[in-house]
């Protein structure tokens, strides 16, 4: 077990270094960062001096090693716009994004798992049909449009909820539901099909034959086993939520990492873009690591080798 964990940790670290390499290459591809930094009236000498100061006159391989060393030490350069180190700038916004993604996930799970279970248990009933329609529409609705429609209905027409900002639960409600809807649809579908599969297994029939109540069979025997594939989807969906938060935060003016990313991209603030891409990937990699390790707790058949 310990060996498995350390192996997975090492692998996650390698993936992150890979992400670093991708970001390094992308930022180098995007043109000369020195020219972005310098005022237009700068002379060629000024530009060369700046290039030397930033270490950009060294061979690419050397630059990459320096970049990796800095990245692993948490130094991701300075924001061109805010004149502050990029990493703290991102970390400052991270709690807001995690709060939003966490609330969205909570909403998705609370809606989707019960709905998926009921749809599977009562296959073909009206609630199953409702679940299918919910899944179809949830998967086809663009996050940001759902947000706009929410604002239109609940902020403009009914005046029940504020349309932007962060701080109160009223402000969290609409962005979280908006962001979580797609995941809710995905998780619901997964839960339903996993439940259907488990319910047709021999051990469920045995449990029923023993005379156990329907409730015990569904919750103690079936649900626990159906959760294994669902947990994988949860991990993947969290990555989707982090990505989706970019758009959701823009719609609701939510002061998180996603909004900072869009602003930084539009303002060509590459060190911040770099820090956010690596930071979000780190969060995602850690979550998938946790998901992988949770398997063993749910499914003793999983061997860590």
């Amino acid at each position: 077990m310990l060996r498995y964990i350390s192996k997975r940790l090492l692998y996650s670290l390698l993936v992150l270094i890979g992400v670093g390499a991708v970001v390094f290459l992308l930022v180098r591809l995007s043109g000369d960062p020195v020219l972005l930094l310098m005022p237009p009236e700068a002379t060629n000498e000024d530009i060369e001096r700046m290039r030397h100061l930033m270490g950009l006159d060294r061979p690419l391989a050397v630059q990459f090693v320096v970049f990796l060393r800095d990245m692993l030490q948490g130094n991701m350069g300075e924001s061109l716009r805010y004149r502050q180190p990029a990493l703290p700038l991102m970390l400052e916004r991270l709690p807001a994004t995690l709060e939003l993604a966490g609330a969205a996930m909570a909403f998705a799970v609370v809606i989707s798992i019960p709905l998926g279970v009921i749809a599977a248990v009562r296959r073909g009933s009206w609630i199953d049909t409702f679940a299918s329609v919910f899944a179809l529409i949830g998967q086809a609705t663009p996050v940001f449009w759902l947000g706009l429609m929410g604002i239109l209905l609940f902020s403009v027409k009914l005046r029940w909820l504020p349309s932007q900002g962060r701080g109160t639960w009223q402000q969290l409600l609409m962005p979280a539901i908006t962001l979580g809807m797609f995941s809710a649809a995905m998780i619901m579908r997964m839960t339903r099909s996993a439940m259907l599969e488990v319910l047709s297994q021999d051990y469920v029939r045995t449990a029923r034959a023993k005379g156990l109540s329907n409730r015990v069979v569904i919750f103690k025997h079936a649900l626990k086993n159906a959760m294994i594939p669902v947990i994988t989807v949860l991990g993947l969906q969290f990555g989707g939520l982090l990505g989706g938060s970019v758009v959701t935060e823009t719609v609701f003016a939510w002061p998180g990492v996603g909004r900072l990313l869009v602003q930084s991209i539009l303002g060509r603030d590459y060190p911040v873009v770099q820090a956010i891409t690596i930071g979000i990937s780190l969060v995602f990699v850690v979550i998938n690591l946790v998901v992988d390790l949770t398997y063993g707790l749910l499914d003793p058949r999983v061997r860590y080798s």
Partner: protein, 283 residues
């Protein structure tokens, strides 16, 4: 053949979605035939006109006009061209990339497989829309770059599907005998393995067109899509956001257009999957 036809006809709901999708595609191809109005023609005196069925609406502008007096219906129809074209081309590009790499990974195994699949792991660690945003920022927003960017973000699914199938296919007799009679590697890849992948590829491709349409609209919404002179559904939503309080139709119709199109494509995708490759059910 008759059984296949019966199986399709039994699923009326999916069939209806397919027909609706065909109509949407036809409308995009035929534009500007049904509504011969320039989608960029501004008419400031008749700006923010509501749809025809509301008080103040006119029959000239069935779905109303936007803040510059441009006809909503014409813009929606022209917007569908960008959405459908970007979605389809990007999905094709990413299929080319992904199937190619998946074939190589599955056929060669060893370090080739390792490099390609680790690359896939690295890419999956970056949420797709994030990677797309950064790539668009690097390459600059344009129609061509959108296709490239979305194509790059989507290759992994194809690669995984193709690789998994090649791993079993390459042990089969017809491939082994092909190798034995000295068929070259490209020949084996293209004539022996690829034809067996079509079904899965078509299913993944259909689903991906839908997801790329949503992503394209998200990028346009953020101002990182095709240039603003071309009407797009995402760009229209971006405009509409500013007039939420006074003109609900600006932000409502483009989103409905995306929703209906994506819904139809997903339903057609479901149908294709059940007919061609039921194994992909959990992808």
């Amino acid at each position: 053949m008759k059984r296949l036809r019966n199986r399709i006809l039994k699923r009326k709901f999916h069939l209806a979605a397919g027909i609706l999708l065909l109509l949407i595609v036809l409308m995009a191809l035929l534009a500007p035939v049904p509504v011969d109005v320039d989608p960029n023609a501004q008419d400031l005196p008749s700006r923010l006109l509501p749809p025809a069925w509301m008080a103040g609406g006119t029959r000239e502008h069935v779905l109303g006009t936007d803040h510059l007096g441009r006809d909503m219906l014409a813009r929606l129809i022209f917007g569908s061209r960008v959405s459908l074209a970007v979605g389809l081309l990007a999905a094709l590009f990413s299929a080319l990339l992904g199937v190619g790499l998946g074939l190589l990974a599955g056929y060669y195994g060893g370090w080739v497989d390792n490099v390609i699949m680790r690359l896939a792991d690295i890419q999956l660690a970056i949420p797709g829309i994030l990677l797309a945003l950064v790539l668009v920022a690097v390459l600059g927003p344009s129609f061509r770059n959108l296709v490239i960017v979305l194509g790059i973000t989507g290759w992994v699914t194809y690669a995984r599907v193709a690789r998994a199938q090649v791993l079993t296919l390459r042990e089969m007799e017809f491939v082994q005998s092909g190798m034995a009679i000295g068929a070259t590697v490209p020949r084996i890849l293209i004539f022996y393995l690829l034809p067996n992948l079509w079904n899965s590829v078509i299913v993944v491709l259909t689903m991906q067109v839908a997801s790329f349409i949503v992503q394209e609209s998200a990028l346009s919404f953020l101002g990182l899509g095709v240039p603003l002179t071309t009407p797009t559904w995402g760009g229209m939503l971006n405009d509409g956001q500013l007039f939420m309080a006074s003109a609900w139709w600006l932000a409502t119709f483009p989103g409905l257009a995306i929703l209906i199109t994506v819904l139809c494509i997903n339903l057609v995708g479901d149908l294709l999957r059940d007919l061609l490759d039921p194994k992909l059910r959990n992808m």
